[in-house]
Amino acid sequence: MSTYTDIFLTFAKIGSFTLGGGFAMVQMMEKEVVDKKQWLSHEEFMDTLVVAQSTPGLFAIDMASHIGLKLKGVKGGIVGALGTALPSIVAILLIALFFQTFKGNVYVEKIFMGVRPCVVALILAPCFGMASKAKLSKTNWWIPVVTALLIAAFGVSPIWCILAAGVGGFLWGQWNK
């Protein structure tokens, strides 16, 4: 089903087309890894997000390593992480070597004025699909809402939200044995 080449190329493709950092990558990764390749279920994909967010390191690289590890062990993880990182390294090196003026280029700026709002939409879009996969219900809808509020309005670090929810989920499970 999945070969090293396949893992590498899939993550290189995802890495090549992600503008705006790790979160913008989620939608594309879900499409490639869950819908197309069916390496993971939607639920497993969300668990990958949890693990990537609650461990140190770059979100996108963490996701790629975790998925690679799941598929093919340590080597798979290395291949996934390098696949995600390589397009960046190559692109930046080319810019550093040849295109010193890239930054001020008026056409580049125009393209980015179009891409930036699109990236925000791409980050927001997976929330809705994931809400149903996370079994959102009348009793637990407040969890994502409070999380979003704490982070966006009060500047609380996502790490604290994850820690609190992890402990809360564990205790709730013990209570309802």
Binding site: F59, D62, L69, G114, A121, F128
Partner: protein
């Protein structure tokens, strides 16, 4: 020795980074500009701009460019700078990767246990909120334009935003195609 320093500094940045690429930028700035004086704050701002406008994780972009620039500043030739760039990028990755290996092994082993199922059941809900928060925080003047400066840019941005959202949610258009179309739209409209 610049290479050892790069390795050390970027390994440190990698393992102490919890908040994703943007949080990493401030860590890099502190080390590279304030502590090691590998570049000025102006150069660093340029690097951030370039990192944001090239594909890939922002933290990797920034590490690559910083590694390159730092080695050039020390008076080494270009090929050494390319090595420095690759070294800095890989240094960011390796420690979190080793940690990830042990975490993944643990989770695979205990994925059926009640405690892990309970914890991840709640955390999946939190991730929904987390993504929503990331999107909300990006709804800024930098990404949508300032309506008090240019109503046109703001309205165009809103249209692009809604069309991208509908395109990906309802019509399941591939994100790559949407990004390319929006880039093209920006080029034509502005």
């Amino acid at each position: 020795m610049i290479f050892l320093k790069l390795f050390y500094v970027f390994s440190k940045i990698g393992i102490f980074n919890f908040g994703g690429g943007y949080a990493m930028l401030s860590l890099i700035q502190d080390e590279v500009v304030n502590k090691h004086h590998w570049m000025t704050i102006d150069e660093f701002t340029d690097i951030v701009a370039i990192s944001q406008s090239t594909p890939g994780p922002i933290g990797i972009n920034c590490a690559t460019y910083t590694g390159y620039t730092a080695v050039i500043h020390e008076g080494f030739p270009t090929w050494a700078a390319v090595l420095g760039a690759v070294l800095a990028s890989l240094s960011v990755i390796w420690l979190p990767f080793i940690l990830m290996v042990s975490i993944s092994k643990f989770l695979l082993k205990h994925s059926q246990s009640k405690a892990v199922t309970d914890i991840f059941g709640t955390l999946r809900l939190v991730i929904v909120g987390l993504l929503a928060a990331a999107a909300i925080m990006l709804m800024s003047k930098e990404n949508f334009g300032d309506p008090s400066e240019s109503v046109f840019t703001f309205v165009v941005s809103l249209i692009i935003f809604f069309m991208s959202f509908v395109g990906t949610r309802l019509y399941k258009i591939h994100p790559i195609i949407i990004i390319l179309l929006c880039g093209l739209a920006g080029l034509v409209i502005y």
